[in-house]
Subunit: 204 residues, 2 copies
DNA sequence: GCAATGCGTTAACGCTCATTAACTCTGATC
DNA sequence: GATCAGAGTTAATGAGCGTTAACGCATTGC
């Protein structure tokens, strides 16, 4: 059906190649710091060739940011429903699941995490509003989970705390030399501990 | 001596006005997203008039980033020497002082904090190296303080933890509506608790 | 009084860069 | 085997923007 090999993973389409490379370049040098020629070169075609796949440079950024926000929120919601049903269902387990999911995201999709809070303002009004709305909903999922676990924590403090923990979990993509990190599972475990420590401290 | 009024605070010089407004604008819309005309307008002069005070737009960003890095490091070093001598001198008190100082910075100079990790790549090589070096030294001050308090914590984990706590403490300037924060002292206290909680969890 | 200097102004220049135009080539489809 | 669509190419266009030129005008120091 596909080009060659009954490969387990589908060959990445040109669009996907472009998005991945654009994400990397935008994260490295900023949206305005990257030219379309550069993005094209990164996938082996030349600048204007990109316009066969996207209506413009803005559209690439928009698709990246909307995409990441949607995936984050979907993952969060999924864990809430899963946690309520099949799994233990304790608030404790839900918070752990949210943290672990976010860490996976931060470690696997560094460029997107970076873009997510750095280039939001370059979007057209309508896209920016959409992303902001998704982000708010994602925060709300966390706030509810935190308050289920620590009912005494006021909502405003819970919200600030959730934002702060996002800053904490998203810190590794900002590192200059990510190769200086311990191996992935150790880093994930450490970040998880830090986040739980912060939440526990918030409630004390 | 000055223009008018024996004011307690010196009237801000034109240079300082420009730097403050440039910092705000750069933080809001990114270095490339702000034109010199806009910066000029923010201080009541017109675009090219800025060139009487700075050799170029890059120079403004450079001065901002080098300045903030120097002030952060100087503050950190000061607290180390103070803590060792006059104050209690316990590792515990030193870490508290570092955290409190950084929080003051994050809450009082939001735009600079934002620029600090967002626009570093727009600097000329020489300036960028200088800023990176100052940042590294600042991290080192924290790492030593943390390890003095928690000697069992391996250095690599301490370093990741310090970065993560910076992300946590720097999270408030990224908030969309900073007016939704609790009042300043309450926010500072909450952030302080979160940071201590994270460090404690790192060491467990 | 009168150069010199500091601090502005507006107009022009030139470069970068996203986007569009005008073609070409390959490979299905009927 | 002709046609058509998809996916590229290079060359041109045009806007935006940092920077420089050329000039005005106070204020200061001699």
């Amino acid at each position: 059906m596909s080009t060659h090999a009954a490969a387990r993973v589908a060959a990445p389409t040109r669009r996907e190649q472009i998005l991945r490379e654009a994400a990397r370049l935008f994260a490295e040098r900023g949206f305005h710091g990257v030219g379309v020629d550069e993005i094209g070169a990164a996938v082996g075609i030349s600048g204007p060739g990109l316009y066969r796949h996207f209506p413009g440079k803005d559209a690439m950024l928009a698709e990246l940011l909307v995409g990441i926000s949607e995936r984050l929120l979907a993952g969060g919601k999924l864990r809430v429903t899963e946690g309520g049903a099949s799994r233990g269902g304790s608030p404790d387990a839900l918070l752990d699941a949210l943290i672990a999911g976010h860490i996976d995201f931060a470690l696997d999709d560094r460029p997107l995490i970076t873009l997510h809070d750095r280039e939001l303002d370059r979007l057209r009004d309508t896209d920016r509003k959409r992303v902001r709305q998704l982000q708010r909903q994602y925060v709300e999922v966390w706030v509810e989970a935190v308050r289920a676990l620590y009912p005494s924590l006021p909502e405003s403090e819970a919200r600030v705390t959730v934002h702060a923990v996002f800053g904490l979990l998203n810190s590794t993509p900002h590192l200059t030399r990510p190769e200086a990190l311990p191996d992935r599972t150790a880093t994930a475990a450490l970040l998880h501990r830090l986040a739980r420590g912060a939440f526990a401290a918030a409630a004390s």
